[in-house]
Structure formats: structure tokens, C-alpha cells
């Protein structure tokens, strides 16, 4: 991946239409904004608020050569590797969670040198998005010092010109596309998130193109009444996709719990069958259902409502 410089990133931003306009698109039209070879930054974290509806459509459209970046990468990374869509991962950690152990797919693709793994720490990937969001080429930190992650994160050390102490500089990430799933947005792209903010606001400001999906599209009046809740302003957003249950089977804070039975079945399948099991999953959940609604029907209405009930109980 050759990341654009802060100058390139600024020029790209200046050149695009940042007007207050209706940006509602179908998920198909929004996903078509992603080009082969793009760096795609994924919002949420692990199995929380993953922009699944958009990711699924990018896979369906057979994009290739993508670099995926995410703070903690869940099995969406496996889907992209096995589908042949991703050639590099920028992340601090990849897996599903402690109970499921090492990712067999990650091992196969990275050990086989089919996919590059550019490892950062959790803070430094956050600072790399933050630097992008600030429009600066790097940010200083005391993470990574003395470790081998300095190399894998593309970081440098310098002597601080003020104090004479060593400081680590991490390079900005300017993703071509940022994918963010939120609780509510208006048609212009003003977006509000409940619960964990993760790194989404920084990703949205750092990326050249932002595809926003939302549990619900609300009137701008609703946004104005709680403007302090708006974490992504419209001018950072290029497409607004209405996608209820748009992170499913991952969780959306207060809206629905992660479908652990589904995730567990997937993980068991992959542990037993490897990449072939992922291919099977892609056929059944990505290529099979023609629309996201059809995809959700595979889980069934009752299951979705039950996951919503659990989420309300957990956050009430």
C-alpha cells in the first residue's frame, strides 16, 4: 500500500463535492465507490458495529487488491482474504475472541505470504487515523519505543527538539474509503453513535470517501435537537445507506447483541474446514442472498428481535 501524503489527501478532499445535499444511496451504489486496490478502513471494533451490510456488498462486487485497516480485525478479514479481495491488513490484532483461539485463515494467508500483515499497536493505529483526521503527516507517542512494532508499523523515532527525549512518530493513515455504521444519520450524513465511539469519527475525517450506513435515517430536525450527539458532520460523508441490523451478526450498542451462536458456528466450521468452510460461508451469506434484507432473512425475524431484546436489557 502506498499511502497518499497529507498533501495528496488534502487535495482530494478539496476537489470533492462537500455540499449539504441528499446523499442517500442503495448499498449497491455506495459499495461501487470502492475501487480495486483501495485502502478501505473499517469502523467499529472487532464484533461491534462492523459495517457488515457495506462489507458484504463490496465482496459481492468482487473488488480486489484491497488493503483493509481496522483497530481489531474480526473474521470479516477472513472473508476478504479467502474471497481474494484483500492483499494487505493493517491492524493491531486479528481474531474473533479468546474462546476461538488463533485464526486459521490468518495463519494460512500470512504464513503463506499471500497477504501482508502490517501490525500496529491499538493506540498507534488510532493515532494513525487521528493524524489523518488532523491532516498532518504523523503524530508523536511513547508507544512502540524499544519494540519490533516500530518496524511493522512503519514508525520512526526522533529526538524531541524541546526536551531531548526519544519520541516515536507514527505515520498518518489516509484511507481511500472509510466504512462506518452508526445508529442514526440524516440524508446529508450527519451521524450519531450511541455507546462506544470506537475510532469512527477519526476514520471518517481521515478517509477520502466515506460510506455511512445507519440503523435509521432520521429527519435533520432530530439531529438538530441533539446536535451534541453528532460525531460525524455531513461534510465528511459521501454516501448514506439505510441499513437496519446493518452490523449483524455483530453487535450494535443498545440495538442488538452479537449473534454468538452464529459466530461460534462459523468459527467451528473454519476450525474444521479451513478456507473451504469460508468459501461455503461466502456462498451462503454473501453471494446467495441478493439483497441485505434477504441476508437478514437467513437469520429469521424472531432471532433478530431476540438479539434486540438482549441489547435493550444490557443497556437499560
Amino acid at each position: 500500500m502506498s499511502e497518499p501524503t497529507f498533501v495528496d489527501a488534502r487535495r482530494r478532499l478539496e476537489a470533492k463535492d462537500r455540499s449539504l445535499r441528499d446523499k442517500r444511496l442503495s448499498v449497491e451504489a455506495a459499495a461501487a465507490l470502492v475501487r480495486d486496490g483501495d485502502h478501505v478502513a473499517i469502523g467499529g471494533c472487532l464484533y461491534s458495529r462492523t459495517p457488515m451490510a457495506t462489507l458484504r456488498e463490496i465482496l459481492r462486487q468482487r473488488r480486489g487488491g484491497l488493503t483493509l485497516s481496522r483497530n481489531l480485525m474480526c473474521y470479516e478479514g477472513e472473508l476478504f482474504m479467502v474471497a481474494g479481495a484483500a492483499t494487505a491488513l493493517v491492524t493491531s490484532w486479528m481474531g474473533i475472541g479468546l474462546p476461538w483461539g488463533l485464526s486459521r485463515i490468518l495463519r494460512e494467508f500470512v504464513e503463506g505470504q499471500r497477504v501482508r500483515f502490517e501490525e500496529c499497536s491499538h493506540l498507534t493505529i488510532g493515532l494513525r487515523y487521528r493524524a489523518g483526521a488532523m491532516g498532518v503527516p504523523f503524530l508523536p507517542t511513547f508507544s512502540l519505543l524499544g519494540s519490533d512494532l516500530l518496524m511493522t508499523a512503519g514508525a520512526r523515532t526522533i529526538t524531541c527538539p524541546f526536551t531531548g527525549e526519544l519520541v516515536c512518530l507514527v505515520p498518518a493513515l489516509f484511507p481511500d474509503v472509510g466504512l462506518v455504521h452508526v445508529h442514526r444519520a440524516d440524508r446529508f450524513g450527519n451521524a450519531q453513535i450511541d455507546g462506544y465511539p470506537h475510532m469512527d469519527a477519526d476514520i471518517a475525517a481521515a478517509a477520502s470517501t466515506v460510506i455511512l450506513s445507519a440503523e435509521e435515517i432520521v429527519d435533520t430536525e432530530v439531529i438538530r435537537r441533539a446536535a451534541d450527539r453528532t460525531v460525524i458532520p455531513f461534510f465528511a460523508v459521501d454516501a448514506v445507506v439505510e441499513a437496519p441490523y446493518g452490523a449483524y451478526p455483530h453487535e450494535c450498542y443498545g440495538r442488538y447483541d452479537a449473534d454468538f451462536a452464529h459466530i461460534d458456528a462459523y468459527a467451528r466450521g473454519v476450525a474444521a474446514g479451513g478456507a473451504a468452510a469460508v468459501q461455503e460461508y461466502l456462498r451462503e451469506y454473501v453471494d446467495g442472498p441478493q439483497t441485505f434484507e434477504a441476508y437478514l432473512e437467513r437469520f429469521g425475524r424472531a432471532r433478530l428481535l431476540e438479539q434486540s431484546r438482549i441489547a435493550r436489557e444490557l443497556t437499560s
Partner: protein
């Protein structure tokens, strides 16, 4: 009383946490240890979780599997962004951090990235996550892990998280001005570090364990105290609380 290795680890780790402090805890044993400490001797201990949670109240039967899911933030006092949580760590707000690792060397350096060379790994591990940040920024670090020879190695394949690096002034020379690894809690022993050389040494034995056993399961030499030091076994009350917290034994083994 019978107990599992995870129960022993959680109990031994919880006793390292003093009241009125702030602990950066990952899911699994660290969170159980912190929740246990809050129930026993440290009711004013504040838990901070990597996914962006300050001051959650961990609830029995609702243990989170990841640090950024709803169960990690129950009744929290604040839900900042992940970057912000780590920046609070860098600023110096957090007293304790817990870490594990696939490989740990005598100076408390940790590898959770790769076995074998980085450009051609034999085993690609999940990666740092927040480990590098926690060990770089929290004031005091506890390593908590099962004691295995393949884990405690003389040399790491990759330094994901810096302990004392090359020893004595290793951290200082790398620019790490704050924080230190002070204890290694295992199912066989409690280890600490020589104040001069910063090399790991035996500080105490878990109940029923002999020094020879620790040697057998450690891939490097370590100093042994002149007198036999024993870690007190888990009390029935500590075990009862742990088992209430994790009734399905998702993390207790």
C-alpha cells in the same frame, strides 16, 4: 479445596491490586481478577477496559468476551473512544496493567506477534492489540499466564511489548521513561525482577509446587530466594466469588 489454573491465576492476580487504584484490564483472567478484588479488598478499584470503558460494574454471568462489546461497559461511568482511553494511559492515569503472552523472556519482554521470522513466520499470532501500549504507559505491569517451557524462553522471536528490553537501563535507553513490569503470576509461581539486573527471579511458589517443577517449565535460568516462600492458596470465599462471576466457567476452565 480444589481449583483450576485460571482460578489460581485470577486469585493471585487480584491480590496484587490495591484499593483506590485504577487498573487497565483485558477480558478473561485480568477482568475476573479485577472484579474479584473489587468484591474483596479493593472496593474502590476502578476498572478501565481497552474498548473504551471507564468504571464498569462487571456483573455475574455477564462477562464480556471482547473489550468493546456491551457486556464490557455495564453501568460504566464513561465510554470514551479507544484512542482516548489509551491516551489517558499515556498521560499516566492508570496504576496497573495486565498482560499475557505467547513468549516471555527473562526481562519481561513479550511476544504476541509471530513465532519465527516476521517476514516468514512459522506461526502468525493475533498481534499486539493494546499490549504494547499498556506495557509502555501503565505505571505497574503484571504478566499473568500459565507456566510453560515454550512460553518462558531465553530469546523472543519478536518484541511486541517491551519489558526491561536488554536489562538494567533498557527501558530508559529506548525512551520509555515510565512504567515497569513488577510481577509475573503463573500457575506454578510468583516471579519478580532483580532490582539491579532486571532479570526475572522466583519470588514465591504456588501451593504444592517445588522449585524443580518451575525450572522444568522455564526455558531460562532464574535466581531462587534463600528461604522457601509460599503463595497462600485461594480461599473458599475467593473461589466462591469467582464462580459466581463466571457461572458458565467461560474463563475459569
Amino acid at each position: 479445596m480444589e481449583y483450576t489454573a485460571p482460578e489460581l491465576l485470577a486469585v493471585a492476580a487480584s491480590r496484587l491490586l490495591a484499593d483506590n487504584k485504577i487498573v487497565f484490564a483485558g477480558v478473561g483472567t485480568p477482568l475476573l481478577a479485577s472484579a474479584l478484588a473489587r468484591t474483596t479488598h479493593a472496593p474502590h478499584l476502578t476498572i478501565v477496559v481497552e474498548g473504551g470503558v471507564i468504571g464498569p460494574e462487571i456483573q455475574p454471568g455477564r462477562l464480556p468476551i471482547s473489550t468493546n462489546e456491551m457486556r464490557a461497559g455495564l453501568r460504566a461511568m464513561a465510554l470514551p473512544s479507544i484512542t482516548q482511553v489509551f491516551l489517558y494511559a499515556q498521560r499516566g492515569f492508570f496504576d496497573y496493567g495486565f498482560l499475557g503472552g505467547a513468549q516471555i523472556d527473562p526481562f519481561g519482554n513479550i511476544n504476541t506477534s509471530v513465532i519465527g521470522p516476521i517476514d516468514r513466520p512459522r506461526v502468525r499470532l493475533p498481534g499486539s492489540g493494546g499490549a504494547n501500549d499498556i506495557i509502555s504507559h501503565c505505571r505497574e505491569i503484571f504478566i499473568v499466564t500459565t507456566h510453560e517451557r515454550r512460553r518462558f524462553v531465553e530469546r523472543l522471536d519478536f518484541v511486541t511489548s517491551p519489558g526491561y528490553l536488554g536489562g538494567a537501563d533498557g527501558r530508559r535507553r529506548a525512551g520509555l521513561l515510565f512504567g515497569k513490569v513488577t510481577r509475573v503470576v503463573t500457575d506454578l509461581a510468583l516471579m519478580d525482577f532483580d532490582p539491579e539486573t532486571k532479570r526475572m527471579r522466583l519470588a514465591g511458589l504456588q501451593p504444592g509446587v517445588a522449585v524443580e517443577q518451575v525450572r522444568e517449565h522455564t526455558g531460562f535460568d532464574f535466581a531462587v530466594p534463600a528461604h522457601d516462600v509460599r503463595v497462600p492458596p485461594p480461599t473458599p470465599e475467593e473461589l466462591r466469588i469467582l464462580r459466581t462471576l463466571d457461572p458458565d466457567r467461560a474463563f475459569l476452565g
